[in-house]
Symmetry: C2
Subunit: 398 residues, 2 copies
């Protein structure tokens, strides 16, 4: 099993290949006080934090230079992943400028992006610092976004990474099983969340997103479904319970949704309105899955699913069919999303082998609650492989 | 005890006062997918995360507008801290532009800063999005850094906040006591870190910085002191043990350093070289403490301490005497630091009543290890009050 350090080595090797493929001379990731303002790429290329300003340079020739504050030097040196580790005391600028001059790149891909949050770690203040540092040099005019590099680097998961995501999904499913055994009518969302937190804690797992909202627990039709925390609403007979939940296990995340129907005393199966919504969701997600393979754009996959759900008479979901999944629950890059402004160019990204996506749609069933399904898949050479065990049937609370 | 929500209300009220004091019409905090790229201000003004792009507007007239993705609306509404919560589906731009036009500010303080990481949450990609959104309007030319607002808002701690930091320091000191009882010769840094992690876990506390480096444990003279993780080096008779450690308790952090001397079999007190370095450190820190009061600049306080230590014949520390402390271990704003480029304008900040600072200096004692002291203080009307119990004497390992 590769350690965090091995992953950094693996990803840096991969980065050099991507630079050559994209004909970019230099990739520059500039960060500062990363406990305050994080760059998601740092986990991949350094696996440590920077207390001061730090610059990580990877060149197409294979050179890897880290310029960090004096006290950050030991942890970067321990990595053994950089051919040169330069420490500074008073200012990062002279060493940074001199490294760039020596490499003399025709193009510098920098860690900002309008479309992809995972590729947008550069703060605007640091952009100003860099602009001043390069002022008067030809390099100021050679800066471009590194979003294509980051997209490829995060998106093309190695078998090792896929195995970790699958293991996170399996742990999540184990917890769902425990929850199912513990469920009954008149349990509050908070009680259910506490049950899940206990299981996470016992297993030594982390959360795929912030603990206050992980799991999201939605009981019955009164809940405003969204990123709101579990509250005092309770499971009721004849109503739905919906949970959106993911764990972090060995640095990789899962992201799954599951639905339970709480049988009325006279019922043995869910009523037709619930069952019909569930079938329509699965039909639309299956249409998306059928479209999902290397070479298609993200928006095409979303459109296949979206059209199916709307054609079945359900409201259009105001979110994407799927996002990438990996070190973080929302792993950036290409999304399976409509061509809306807020997604920028991300829906126009091309799906690649090794991408891991969620597929997720949901809808409200009046008077019952929310049905939403979400599964995790990896894109293979000609289709997908499930990383989760799809919930094909609604689960029942007796 | 105020809850997280109450803190947000308190801070937003404070923000309106600061805007008036600084004659700024509008403070705009623009964020995106905050689980990936965080803005430290968000904890203060929203206390929740944003899955999509989000804009938080506070005007000097007291209006508070949040513009967030549809699924982020419920959690922001639940806060009850914004007079208007606007949800969007496809794009944040129309609602953002229209809110700014309606408020018609003469100046817009935006969440970027060259000098202060805690005030530099705006990503460069979002800056580009905002520039396009405001293109052709007069507002594009009215953007300034919000660093002075953020500095005041984070830096002026309420009694409630100071009490929480003090409680975090107390919890840290309790753990140091347990460590002291458990120490002996030939213990590895990793064993000592494990002991501390166990105490943190038992008390249900969090870490003031990332767990892999919290505590930093430095045993003996071979250790490269810096932000490097605990390793296989061991406590030895005649050598020093140094620990830098802080906890997060009720959302507030401590940050303390403690030193132990491991007595040689023939010794009953530390040897003169160690004792002398310890006295020199305290003399210099006390000189800084004497200078620390409202109205002085950060660099003046640092200079008082720095000159004392250098005059005593010790090497100049290549870091600041102190940083602010609060929701995060490095809380941004004014620093007690020399006027070096990497600190930007932060050393020129004016110390204010209610600021909480660390005071910390250290030095290597050849053949012994590292002595470093760090305490936490709050600035009062005419001086400081200790939030930690100063370690005036070296602790001994028998």
């Amino acid at each position: 099993m590769a350690s965090g350090n091995q992953l950094v080595h693996e990803k840096l090797d991969q980065a050099v290949g991507i630079l050559r493929e994209q004909d970019v001379d230099l990739w520059l990731t500039l960060v500062r006080e990363t406990l305050l303002t994080s760059d998601p790429s740092l986990d991949l290329i350094a696996g440590t934090y920077c207390a001061w300003q730090g610059a990580f340079l990877v060149s197409a020739t294979g050179e890897r230079i880290a310029i960090v504050g004096r006290f950050d030097v030991p942890s970067v040196e321990e990595l053994g992943a950089y051919s040169e580790v330069v420490g500074y005391d008073e200012s990062i600028r002279p060493a940074l400028r001199s490294a760039i001059e020596r490499l003399d790149p025709r193009s510098i891909a920098l860690n900002y992006s309008e479309s992809d949050p995972a590729a947008d770690g550069l703060s605007h203040g640091l952009w100003l610092v860099l602009s001043e540092t390069l002022a008067g040099s030809p390099y100021a005019g050679r800066l471009v976004s590194s979003e294509r590099i980051v997209n490829a680097l995060r998106g093309r998961k190695s078998p090792f990474e896929v195995a970790r995501i699958k293991a996170a999904a399996e742990a999540t499913e184990e917890i769902f099983e425990v929850v199912t055994r513990g469920l009954g009518p008149e349990m509050s969302e908070l009680e259910i969340a506490a049950l899940i937190h206990e299981e996470v804690s016992q297993r030594g797992l982390g959360y795929a997103w912030d603990r206050d909202h992980c799991p999201a627990v939605n009981a019955g039709p009164e809940k405003k479904v969204g990123h709101s925390a579990p509250g005092e609403l309770r499971t009721r007979r004849g109503e739905l319970l919906h949970i959106d939940f993911g764990v972090e296990r060995d640095d990789y995340c899962s992201d799954l949704q599951r639905v339970w129907y709480c049988l009325d005393e006279s019922e043995t199966v869910p009523p037709p309105d619930v069952e019909q919504a569930w079938r329509a969701l699965w039909e639309s997600v299956d249409a998306g899955i059928t479209a999902l393979r290397p070479g298609v754009t993200g928006w095409e996959v979303d459109a296949a699913a979206r059209e199916s759900l709307v054609a079945a008479g359900y409201p259009e979901p105001m979110y994407a069919l799927g996002h990438q999944l990996g070190r973080t629950a929302h792993d950036g890059g290409t999304v399976l999303a409509p061509r809306w402004d807020r997604y920028g160019t991300a829906p126009f990204g091309i799906v690649e082998e090794g991408n891991v996506f969620t597929v997720e749609y949901g809808t409200a069933v009046p008077g019952r609650g929310y049905v939403g399904l979400e599964e995790d898949v990896v894109v293979t050479r000609d289709g997908v492989e499930w990383l989760s065990t799809p919930q094909r049937e609604l689960w029942l609370v007796p």
